[in-house]
């Protein structure tokens, strides 16, 4: 893991990881991208970065339905971490369950991080999606 990982993609579907990387490559250098197949792995990475005093990611693309630790559990855990930096979290889901939308609103109120909510498929990355990251690059 390098200090340059500014963007996290968290999704258990390797096709999505492939797609997201491909789309991001159009706007940012791929060396800044790290991907994880569930929330737990991503959280482990963030915690180790904090511990080692490394920069934590500026933008996270987060899937909801994942094994072991899903998107909401990851968000909950992230909120409980002591992070001063404001992270942009783009929630990417294929769920049309209103309950998921309500959970998004719930977390929006409870976190300092910026939360976006988008439904799949994601066919294009616009500058705002990685606004914090692009400033840094």
């Amino acid at each position: 893991m390098s200090e340059n990982e500014k963007i996290f993609i968290i999704d258990d579907d390797e096709i999505i990881i492939f797609g997201m990387r491909k789309l991001l490559a159009e706007v940012i250098d791929t060396k800044y991208i790290a991907s994880f197949e569930n929330g737990e792995l991503a959280l482990d990475s963030i915690q180790s970065k904090l511990k080692n005093g490394e920069e934590i990611p500026e933008v996270i693309f987060l899937d909801i339905n994942m094994p072991i630790m899903d998107g909401w559990q990851f968000l909950q855990a992230l909120c409980e971490l002591d992070i001063e930096k404001r992270i942009r979290i783009n929630i990417i889901t294929s769920s049309v369950d209103p309950a998921d939308y309500e959970k998004w609103l719930y977390f929006q109120k409870r976190t300092n991080h910026y939360l976006d909510f988008r439904t799949k498929p994601v066919l294009k990355i616009i500058p705002e999606d990685i606004s914090f990251a692009s400033k840094a690059s």
């Binding site: 072991i68 049309v96 498929p121």
Partner: protein, 614 residues
């Protein structure tokens, strides 16, 4: 003034046929008739000129005072005085003023006559008669008298009025009895008169008469026979018109009867309780409910004698509240438990029973048995609950389907877009490979969903008695190679050979296969898998328990997702997140439930509950 009386006048006066004396203003006798001299045994010469006081002071002292009274206040006076010569006779004196030609009172005239006691008695009788008549008018009581000797019947005015006959009507004993209503009344009066005559029995009876004008009247006829030397001489009696009273009484009786009939035939339990909540009136429904043949069995008893203690206390508290606040308790749902333990649900109203001072003396209770309605309502609630659960499940399933299909189609969309835009051939073939993978995933997903739909669509699944041991034997045979490879032990030796459960064999087969496979798949790295199956059955619940010594699941984190679709909890290459979801659907389709107990690092226990009813 000196009164001068001529000789001729004197002569005439003396011959008057009655004992008369004339007294002047000074109280001196002026003239007396010869009858007077005879009556009082006096002599003319001693009498004329003598003072009246001097003559009568010894024998009739009252005379002097009446004479002076008559002089002072002219008017007619009469009084009686005892005859000193005979005990049986009295002397009645009449004193009136004597006027001159100018109408000035100049003296008094005194007349005396004998009066026997009989005459006096007759006079008394007359006044009694008047009194009696007055009384009889006031009290509506008629008087009659029958003389046995001359067979004469006397009716008083009121008696005639009661019979609605004229004042000149002359009754006879036969016609009198004939006035009584034919049948009971007439027979009774005839018998009573006969008994009075023969057996000296007085009577008093309430009977009906038909008046001369044809009206029916209720009367109280009473009679008292009088005897002389053992022989009946007369029968004296009264007759009282009590039509109004009887009619009022009958009306009250009628309305009481109406009320009782109404109360007994209403499909409601009605009861009246006193201050201490003791029953003072109950209707038939209440008797039937409490199994009493007669209201008397319940009267005087409180709820504590009739119901479960706890229930009785609730009822008593309600009674007290109603009596205290004077506010009726209306349509409250109450539950009664009889001494035999049977429960009834009532819709109860309690109304304070007020006395004339507006104080509560008790309560009136009305209870409607709504047990049946309540049961129906509960059934309906259950049905609504089942429907609501089904509905929720259906919506949940729709979301699962939508989510799963959408994740695949969005992958297609994305990959196809890349394919169209891609120039590099190597990258193109990589995308096509991914498209194939996506297609396979979609097919798998559709298969899974189809399986779930099949389980849930199969409403009329046939359940049968499944022998548990034989079933596990079969599953174990199918998994033999898999179990052996993982050195897994299946322990079900303790099961009874005959233990059976009412279930769908194919479902149970699939469920156990899934649980055994999971137990092995998620085994603890430090030990060989061991799966223990136990079975118990009580009343209508069969419980199959599958206990493993595997990894265990963190229930705090995953309990609500454990049986969800595509949820996995362990890093395992074969974890697909469909097995427990299918098992849960199968168990629920059989009307059962699945519960889990688990401890990370120790293992998990899945308990399947299957209900035997239906």
């Amino acid at each position: 003034m000196k009164t001068v009386v001529s000789k001729n006048q004197t002569y005439l006066f003396r011959q008057l046929p009655n004992p008369i004396a004339v007294v002047n203003a000074n109280g001196e006798v002026v003239l007396v008739s010869d009858q007077w001299l005879d009556f009082f045994d006096m002599v003319w010469d001693n009498t004329i000129g003598a003072s009246i006081n001097a003559i009568f002071s010894n024998i009739h002292p009252e005379v002097t005072s009446y004479v002076s009274k008559c002089m002072d206040h002219p008017g007619n006076y009469s009084f009686t005085s005892q005859n000193p010569h005979s005990k049986d006779t009295l002397i009645k004196f009449l004193v009136k003023p004597w006027y001159d030609t100018n109408e000035n009172p100049t003296g008094t005239i005194i007349e005396a006559r004998y009066q026997t006691r009989q005459i006096q008695m007759e006079e008394k009788l007359e006044s009694f008669d008047a009194l009696l008549h007055g009384l009889s008018t006031i009290t509506n009581v008629g008087i009659w008298e029958y003389n046995f000797q001359n067979q004469k019947l006397y009716w008083s005015k009121m008696t005639k009025k009661i019979h609605e006959v004229g004042a000149d009507f002359e009754p006879e004993i036969e016609t009198a009895i004939g006035f009584y209503k034919q049948g009971y009344s007439q027979n009774t009066i005839a018998m009573l008169v006969h008994n009075a005559l023969e057996n000296k029995t007085p009577f008093k009876e309430c009977l009906q008469i038909i008046t001369q004008k044809g009206k029916e009247r209720w009367v109280i006829a009473a009679g008292q026979p009088y005897f002389k030397n053992g022989e009946a001489i007369r029968l004296v009696g009264t007759i009282q018109d009590v039509t109004d009273e009887i009619e009022t009484e009958n009306k009250i009786k009628d309305s009481a009867q109406l009320l009782q009939t109404l109360m007994d035939n209403l499909p409601l339990n009605i009861y009246v309780k006193d201050k201490d909540s003791r029953k003072i009136l109950v209707n038939k429904s209440e008797c039937d409910y409490l199994g009493a043949a007669d209201p008397e069995e319940l009267i005087g008893h409180s709820d504590f004698d009739l119901y479960d203690k706890h229930i009785a206390q609730i009822s008593r508290d309600e009674d007290v509240e109603v009596m205290k606040t004077l506010t009726p308790m209306l349509g409250r749902e109450t539950v009664n438990i009889r001494k035999d333990g049977s429960t009834t649900t009532f819709l109860t109203s309690k109304i304070p029973l007020l006395n004339t001072y507006g104080e509560a003396n008790g309560i009136i209770g009305i209870s409607m048995d709504i047990t049946e309605m309540k049961n129906k309502e509960n059934e309906l609630h259950d049905l609504i609950n089942v429907t609501a659960i089904q509905n929720k499940k259906l919506i949940n399933f729709a979301h699962i389907v939508s989510h799963n299909l959408r994740s695949h189609t969005s992958n297609f969309t994305m990959l196809l877009k890349f394919l169209v835009e891609e120039k590099d051939e190597n990258e193109k073939s990589r995308i096509i490979k991914m498209l194939t993978e996506a297609s396979n995933n979609l097919t798998d997903t559709l298969d899974d969903l189809n399986q779930v739909v099949e389980i849930n669509a199969n409403v009329n699944i046939e359940k049968e008695e499944v022998n548990i041991k034989q079933l596990i034997d079969r599953v174990a045979t199918n998994l033999w190679a898999f179990l052996r490879k993982n050195k897994a032990v299946l322990d079900y030796e303790t099961l009874n050979d005959k233990a059976s459960v009412n279930a769908v064999p194919a479902y149970l087969d699939s469920i156990l296969m899934n649980l055994f496979t999971n137990a092995v798949k998620y085994k603890h790295p430090d030990r060989d898998p061991k799966i223990q199956i136990t079975f118990s059955k009580n009343k209508n619940v069969s419980m199959i328990s599958v206990k493993d010594n595997g990894l265990g699941i963190d229930l705090d984190k995953h309990e609500n997702k454990l049986f969800g679709m595509y949820k996995t909890f362990h890093h395992h290459k074969d974890a697909r997140g469909i097995g427990l979801y299918i098992s849960k659907n199968q168990i629920e389709a059989m009307g059962g439930k699945i519960f889990v107990e688990s401890k990370v690092g120790h293992g998990s226990t899945f308990n399947i509950h299957l209900y035997e009813r239906e």
